[in-house]
Amino acid sequence: MMTYNTILIIACAYLLFTFLAAFLTQKWPLLQRLMSENSLVYALSLTVYCSAWTFYGSVGRAATTGLGFIGVYLGPTLLAPMWLFMLKKIIRISNYLRITSIADFISSRYGKSAKLGALVSIVCIFIIIPYISIQLKALEFSFYLLQDGNFAKGTSGQGAAFYFDPSIVFVVIFAAFAIVFGTTNLDPSEKHPGLVNVIAFEAIIKLVCFLIGALAIVYFIFNGIGDIFTKAQSKLNFNALSVVGNGSSSYQSWVIISLLSAMAFLFLPRQFHMAVVENNSVRHIKKATWLTPLYLFAISLFVLPIAFAGTILFDASIEPDTYLLSIPLQQGLSGIALVVFIGGLAATSGMIIVSMISLSIMISNNIFLPFLLRIKKQYTYFLSDLNGRLMQLRRVLIVAVMLLSYGFYKFFSINYSIVSIGLISFAGIAQLAPAIFFGMYWKWATEKGAFAGFSVGIILWFFTMPLTNLAELGILDSSLLTEGLFGLSFLKPTALFGLGGMDVVSHGTFWSLTANCFVLITVSLNSKRSPLEISQSDIFLNPEKYYKSENPRAYVFERRADFEELHRVLKAILGEKKVKEVMLQYYGGNVLSNFPIYADSGFINLVESHLSGSIGAASAKILLNHVVDQKPIDPEELISLLDETYHVYEYSQLLEKKSKELSDTTQELKEANKQLKELDDLKNIFISNVTHELRTPITSIRSLAAILGKYDVEEEEKAKFLKIIDDESERVSKLIDQVLDLRRMEAKPSLVKSAFQIDELIRKIVSGFEEVKHQRAINMQLEPLKIYTDREKLQQILINVIANAIKFTDYSAGKIDIKAFASKNKVFVEVADNGIGIDEKHQKKVFERFYQVNSQGENKHKGSGLGLAICKSYANAMGIDLKLKSKIGEGTLISLEI
């Protein structure tokens, strides 16, 4: 048990710490960059999803519905793979248009509709304020629990009469945080690195604290999960809890809750803010698709055991939502309870702060500014220091949201459980989904359609859910539930048109979403899009066309503005320095000394885009209406223009692809050409060698033939000459054979396989060299091995290899070792010599056609340059690995792996 002051000091110390963390990351640019480029930070920041609901509510829900609690985590997890293209698309669009909130996103899609943006924002206020208030409730409840240790229902909080409510203390701190780190944007985009880092940091705190509490309960107070389940089984109707099918509607509610959660995970204002507005790079999504679900899994792993533990230890007088705190407290582990409390504080603070910021952005950009900027006086007021005024407005709004939430909590929320409010909020937010999905994937969706669909959806949602809730609590006349609206039974909020037998959430979600989609489609099909809607929907459907290329919108609308006036607007938003940059970027060099009279469409678009990043698309449009003239455009013309730009885009994509292919092909051709050239050079050398080789014997033949014809040659001489003529003729024909071999080498040689003794073959070949080897020593170490391959071709290979060994060794000191052995299921033949060797740069090439190592002039070792090339081609055909190792001056080793 702890005193009020102790707990408050500890809690404030923790919050001060987060202030410091946020402050430091904003102070140090290096750290800031490091963090904002880290996809881990992004993935963790998405877990702002896990609020007090996760900390307390899930356990409570698990205690009453068993696995029913898990839908809230399952939905986002199942949808996570879709983030890779859907969230990516949303982010691409939002980055391009500098979207500031979910309301801005929807308003932008439907022609920068101020009306739609305002409606969405107002609904969000109504949905989120109760949601925040219920977080406050959880926080205060946990505070009192920790303070007086009295965890029985309804008795908490009474000893604190002389103090401030702790929740007001906290909510003020949260608002301060939101003001300090959420309304000091250093550049006009709505990015707050300090905030993101703190949320990521709190994600870790939440998980660690939750796990500490959970592990203490499961392994310290009980003997593990098995122990809890055994005890629970004997005490409770076990099956009813852990199995999903708790009554016929349970599967249904499971599916519905998963669906709602999946949508809420992206479209809740705070989620959209973290996932889209604060996103620095679409590359970060990839890690989030597995890391964030993993986090959800980790934090929900022990929920069921804790719920069981609570059910074992307590009777119905203890609120199941508090089990994570009450169990350690009951067991006297107040340290653990304090840790859990800090975790809950982290969860609550993250949720509330981000909600406050996103709501304040939404309310200022989509409710106040579109309204205020229409008024000339206000327009002038805002323009004098837009950024400053905007931040002022946001701060006021944060305080207002704080007061509303606190007030709502004090007057209404006392009676609600976290989960019931949470689910109703989710279902409300889900009403945004049709406008978003159809907006991104169906170009015919119109502003009227979206507005009507959303309105109908929200009305039905309100009727079937919050209203039902109020009636159930007795705040409204409960005859509404039993008899229906105006006493009409088909208007019963829990069984519209007689559709009964479903739980409230499933029933309400079903009707509201179905009607929402249906109305959106029907109205869209019966209404026309305005030119601005057409051009905006084009961006939402094909964002790649825009963010990849130069600004094609510039040429869609013809707009004109007085430059001086526009310059003034721009200066109010961006400040003097940045304006210069933008102007130089757009107009180049001498714009600063020589202003143009009129600004063109491209520049106006640039200004509007910067402006949208601060005050939202709808407000930006309204603001610019004061200074910009727009030439009216016929919708038909616009559509054809956009089609044209799309064709241009497609064409340029195609062109890019083609030119890449072309450059690839050019590269390939270059390579091929280089090879051909090399081959050609080799061929020239070869031809020159062959002609030389042919001319030499023919010279002798011709000369001797002439001698024999002219002179009366003595018999002895004559015989000698005739022998020479014969020899040289043979030399010519051999050469011709080799050239023909080259021709044959082009085609794949056919193999005639047979089994034979390799050692016998080698001996036979070596004996054939007896005459030419002179005093070279040929040593053989041959294992008697039988192999199965083409004998003829192997013989040719070996003759070539051994002939080379002889050719390149000294005729007296030459030593050639020939080995044949078996190893690893293969037969190896090695021919090693101690000849002149081949240096490294030639080694690879000796197997190429026509290649001869010796340069002209030192042409002692005559040949056509074909021998080894033919060997290699035979070896390849026979599956023989022919390798060469050599060191210049020391000799050469050729090995065959058969």
Partner: protein, 121 residues
Amino acid sequence: MNKKVLIVDDEENILISLSYLLKKEGYAVKTAANGKEAIERFRQFKPEVVLLDVMMPEKDGFSTAREIRQMDETSDAHIIFLTAKGTSQDKLKGYTSGADDYVVKPFDNEALLDKIMDKFV
């Protein structure tokens, strides 16, 4: 005194046929199988005509010719290249290295004899 001819070629068979031919025509003949040998023989033998093969191992005909010219500047020996290479580039290279004439293999015996005779006319 017989006119002296030095034949340089690494092909033994060519040496055989040429020396037989020239001897029959009344020349005094010496042979060499490579450039190094050729220079030595030239020094001792002092031939009037040298038939020099271009493509020889170790020292080719061109450099052999250059060395002969450097070695004995007073000598007016006639150097005739015998070569299996017949491009004009090869001819140019032959003349710049100090050759007087050029015969492409395989040659007509009579044409070769005429070229040798030129020296002595």
